[in-house]
């Protein structure tokens, strides 16, 4: 046995401020205070429910008898006129043949509070809508803090990576960066042809011994800036030892061009470098190989070959450039 309660309109308005009362013929006869905030009175009271709202699910567009079939079902409704706010609804029959439709904003809540300028007083004290709005704002504030943290971490990671790939004194790339680049360029799927130069400074030890380490460091900085100036932006210049450098020239296997570049680098390095009242004089020996000499270029093999060519330069009296072309075998040689 169920007990019955009878509630006055005032009680309904207080308990469920977003309700609508519909008479026997499907016409709206009363709207709770919040429901009344959604439409002007003349667009609501005295109108047929289905002229104001359309039932999206379950699909229903008919008359009052259809309406009765929706009793107790979860309803998705939408205003026919703009703003086309979507609502959730539940329909309940009353004793005298009238229907009570209780509404809620569901996920339209954010748009709706803005569209209808709703305030906390428009929601029942027991309705968690305001708490939900609070949570949406609090979560988005927290999320934006998280995003800021992520951005900072990302920046720090990039800085750390750059630092890990940079030679601290000269700001050139270091051996790690060079190894990575060579590895990338020789990977079969992304293979790029390139020229590889190994450069060793001549007479650098004398600069250190005669003028001191400060002069040596000064010379290295000058060398770095010359190497940067004599190469393109996407060429890689790495300091791989005290006075050893490796230069990688992507998409450049033209030995004549590489010879010209090497000659220009040597000429510029031979210009006296002033340090205080002294003039530091150095030169460089260079050995070069190119990826197109190998059917499957291997970084270690190419570095070793460039090194061989470099030592040929040293043995031939320093301050010169040698192309590696002696040591390759007939079986892995490609016609050039």
């Amino acid at each position: 046995m169920t007990s019955t309660v009878s509630l006055g309109i005032d009680a309904l308005d207080g308990l469920m401020p977003m309700h609508i009362l519909i008479d026997k013929s499907g016409v709206i006869i009363h709207a709770g205070p919040t429901a009344a905030r959604l439409r002007p009175e003349h667009d609501l009271i005295g109108m047929r429910l289905f002229n104001v709202l359309t039932c999206v699910r379950p699909a229903c567009d008919g008359g009052f008898e259809d309406l009765r079939q929706l009793i107790g079902q979860p309803l998705k409704l939408q205003f026919r006129a703009a703003p086309h706010t979507r609502l959730r609804g539940l329909l309940h029959p009353l004793d005298d043949g009238q229907l009570l439709l209780n509404l809620s904003l569901g996920y339209s809540v954010v748009e709706a509070v803005s569209d209808y300028a709703l305030t906390s007083r428009d929601f029942s004290h027991c309705d968690p809508t305001v708490e939900m709005l609070f949570l949406i704002e609090a979560k988005s504030a927290a999320l934006s803090e998280s995003k800021k943290l992520n951005a900072r971490l990302d920046e720090a990671r990039e800085a750390a990576q750059t630092q890990a790939e940079t030679d601290a004194l000269t700001g050139l790339h270091n051996r790690r960066a060079m190894d990575q680049r060579l590895c990338d360029m020789t990977q079969s799927r992304r293979r790029t042809e390139f020229g590889l130069m190994h450069l060793d400074l001549d007479f650098f030890k004398q600069v250190n011994d005669t003028h001191g380490h400060a002069a040596g460091d000064h010379v290295l900085l000058k060398v770095a800036s010359i190497l940067r100036e004599e190469t393109r932006a996407n060429d890689l210049v790495a300091r791989v030892g005290g006075d050893e450098f490796v230069l990688i020239f992507p998409d450049c296997t033209d030995v004549t061009l590489l010879d010209t570049i090497a000659a220009r680098i040597i000429a510029r390095l031979e210009e006296p470098i002033p340090f205080g009242s002294q003039q530091c004089r150095i030169s460089a020996s260079i050995g070069t190989t190119i990826s197109s000499l190998y059917s499957e270029p291997d970084p270690d093999r190419m570095l070793s070959d460039a090194d061989t060519a470099l030592y040929q330069s040293k043995h031939a009296g320093r301050a010169r450039h040698t192309l590696f072309k002696d040591a390759f075998e007939a079986d892995d040689m490609v016609a050039h």
């Binding site: 509070v113 803005s114 300028a117 704002e137 609090a138 927290a142 803090e145």
Partner: protein, 208 residues
């Protein structure tokens, strides 16, 4: 009884707010010096990490020494800063969700701890309880692991009273140490709920 794990940590949002207040009111150089005194890295706190409460206490102590003020007045200034600084409009708005009048706001204070946890689960704000002591009169009790929670609340209340346009009288009460942390009290008297025009607040401002 040992304190709960959460009670020994202070969320980065709180620590970062302290840092933000010190930089905003006293400058970056002051912050750098306070951070140095508290053995913190100069970049200070991250807002989405948590820190042992000893770090929060060190920073607050260093700030008091540097500025030459008491913990209570520092915390009260931080509380005011949180709801009045334009960069922290989000905080003011979240506070205004407490209710349409200043009294509703006061009555919502005992939910602040739970509301904060709902948004950021590790964010443990002071636990606040309320006792009615007469018409428009309440005694607020805070329970937190850091000394000065009541002053923080007092600063927030002063600023929020301005925001709502209410006239209030605040009086600090006694402090007690208990198992659950430090308990501090404050009496609030709402002398005039609508003393002046407050600032506007609509639910939709930030959401649209």
């Amino acid at each position: 009884m040992l304190p709960q794990l959460e009670d020994r940590y202070v969320h980065g949002l709180i620590n970062k707010s302290v840092q933000g207040f010190l930089i905003s009111n006293h400058g970056s150089d002051a912050w750098a010096e306070i951070a140095r005194m508290a053995n913190l890295p100069p970049q200070g706190f991250e807002s989405m990490l948590t820190y042992p409460d000893s770090m929060t206490n060190k920073v607050l102590d260093a700030a008091c020494t540097y500025v030459g003020c008491t913990r209570a007045s520092l915390m009260e200034d931080i509380g005011m800063f949180l709801v009045t600084h334009p960069d922290l409009e989000a905080v003011r708005r979240l506070m205004r969700f407490g209710g349409p009048t200043f009294e509703d706001f006061v009555l919502s204070l005992d939910e602040v701890h739970d509301r904060a946890c709902l948004a950021v689960p590790e964010l443990t704000l002071p636990k606040i309880s309320l006792n009615d002591t007469g018409v428009g009169q309440y005694v607020i009790t805070t329970q937190w692991q850091v000394v000065g929670a009541i002053s923080l609340v007092s600063g927030v209340l002063r600023a929020m009273a301005d925001d709502y346009g209410a006239l209030v009288v605040l009086d600090a009460g006694p402090r007690l140490h208990s198992d659950g942390g430090i308990m501090e009290t404050l009496s609030v008297f709402i002398a005039e709920p609508e003393f002046a025009a407050g600032r506007s607040f609509t639910l939709a401002e930030r959401l649209a």
